[in-house]
Amino acid sequence: MSDEANKGLLSPLRRKLLMGMAAVPAITMLPRASFAQAPATSAVNTTGLAVTDTEVTVGILHSATGTMAISETGSIEAEKLAIEQINAMGGVLGRKIKFIQEDGASDWPTFAEKAKKLLVNDKVAAIMGCWTSASRKAVLPVMEQYNGMLYYPTFYEGLEQSKNVIYTGQEATQQILAGLNWIAKEKGAKSFFFIGSDYIWPRTSNKIARKHVENVLKGKVVGEEYYPLGNTQFNSVINKIKLTKPDVIFTDVVGGSNVAFYKQLKAAGIDLSKQALLTISVTEDEIDGIGGENIAGAYACMKYFQSLDNPNNKTFVPAFKKMWGEKTVIGDVTQAAYLGPWLWKLTVEKAGSFDVDKIAAASPGVEFKGAPEGYVRIHENHHLWSKTRVGRAKLDGQFELIFETADLVEPDPFPKGYQ
């Protein structure tokens, strides 16, 4: 049933709308058609959420200020775009989506406070939000206590699964293993040097990567170093890299530190066209700051690149740029954030209800064929089935797709043998 709904609603209409050609007739026509079939509010909302006969309210909770604003702005923009597109198509169960935006201010307890405000005061039907693992960890108890629904966009460390969260980014094994396999096969890589920022995501990711390198690829980890968030001095680790000469530098340095790291690598004479470097933390957004000339040649392993060549992405990218400006770039997380409102809409329609319990139960199996990354489906564990891709950074700041897995990779947040 959800299949038919998806097909009918998404592909043809949406494309037309995005190109702006059929916008006027579609907008005047669609809501009327959907109001006619809109079910009664009392039937689709039994738990007192902010749902009226014409509107449903959701929350957007990201950092609009503070150090994380630079990363999270893309997610806010993608979510607003998705909501606007859904509204242009008639909304959800005949109701327009209205959103309340709150600022997490790059401060984890503020995230918890605002999440609580959205759930308790505003009674939002769902929250699109959070970015760092720390903010998600702060919000999670609130979501579980007040039975909210969170759509979380970032690739993250795994080891978590909640009825109240849909993880639209990749968990660590999904993101890392295929990339390591590829680089081991393609480059014959045997020795790896790990560099990460010092917090839970890089540490867990590197733990998984180490087990994979040692136990599956039968390679060696010749170094593992961590730096505080915001660190800008990488000279000592670059010297160690020069001494150990690893086949692959594997990095999960996050945020602004990347700018210093790649500039210093280049200054130290490490040529990324000869020295293989695989990053799981640099998207088009970060390259904006690093500068294409400093990182060209590096490989990135994630699920989405702006340059992906598929029909969905070819309508998504222009629509995004039309709304937010020609100069914007779209990274992996931005795309994952765009999935949130759509997956929620599809799940609500599948469940025929806004009730969080029903949405949580209906989520497994929901498919989104209009995803810019291609087809995605929600797994029983509330993560997404998705492909993993390797791209190579180019001078213009975009990635060139080098490799993608043939099939969707199964999300496995509690990987056996990797803990």
């Binding site: 984890w108 307890p109 406070e113 609580k116 405000k117 720390a134 702060a138 999670l140 839970i200 505080p228």
Partner: protein
Amino acid sequence: MTDNRFFNRSEFIGILVLAVFLVVVLPLTLDVFRLNLVAKYLTYAFVALGLVVCWGYGGILSLGQGVFFGLGGYCMAMFLKLEASSVENTKIQSTPGIPDFMDWNQITALPLFWKPFSSLSFTIAAIILVPGIFALIIGTAMFKRRVGGTYFAIITQAVAAILTILIVGQQGYTGGINGMTDLRTLKGWDIRPDHAKIVLYFFEVGCLFACIMIAQFVRHSKLGRILVAMREKEDRVRFSGYSVANFKIFAFCVAAVFAAIGGAMFALNVGFMSPSFVGIVPSIEMVIYTAVGGRLSILGAVYGTLLVNFAKTSLSETFPELWLFGLGGLFIAVVLAFPNGLAGIWGDYVQPRIDRLIYSGKPKPAGWTDSSVADGAPAE
């Protein structure tokens, strides 16, 4: 009744008004969510109160109160986290029975220094003693060598930075930058539902008034007068035979213990503790609360904290992208226009009019009011 050594008449009325405001007005007008936010704001009021004693009266500007707030908060959070990490709750982990962040960091047994925190009485003692002793060590090291003023402020900043780096770096033992989340029960009593939030709020208000009384006592005792004398002319006090350092250490320790109680209340009310309350920025923010309230006024500290945090919450809810500018503007306006903060506004404009109404014809009551202390108070 009103003329004992704790407070004079106008102070007694002020405390009464605050009590009515916190105990009756707010719980009746706010829903539980907003009341819990007030509880969160009030945890900072403990810090601001400590700063009134140590900065306002003693003249010791500490820009590292977040350290003590954090130590108190972490002690409480460790107890709550241990209770939330029962084998039953953590059976999904590779080592059940230890806090989740330890499991993520490949720690397989509870570290030694965590073990005593399974006892509530030890935890309560630690909340007071750990920051108290730490402040004693810093205070002794600094004040005995006559390090004061700006140098002392800089050193407290450094301590705040060091403690943050330590907590973030030792994430296997402290939860790192994520902090300690998902605190659930206190001796089996769930601290998360609405009725628990209300109980915790009143408990906190009770503790706050206890601290206000202590601050009042310090201020009206001989000790308080020596503190003020020391702030005004340290050398004269020293030549009169007082050990200036000991008084300074005492004031600093009182401020530290107040901050620690606030931190513990924070962990209880918010169910959360993270290094973002320990570092330099939150420490400076706490000084701002005191400055806005008026650094010489005990009650001003409470009102200042409430005002700044209310502004923070409501501005950020209304203007999610621009609110920081609004808040910055508020600080600049207060400092430029009213150097003595809210208490200064009260003392200069409101109080004289009320006095004129009440005491028209009668002489002014003798007593030590805010404005008489504020006269000629130099900036640090």
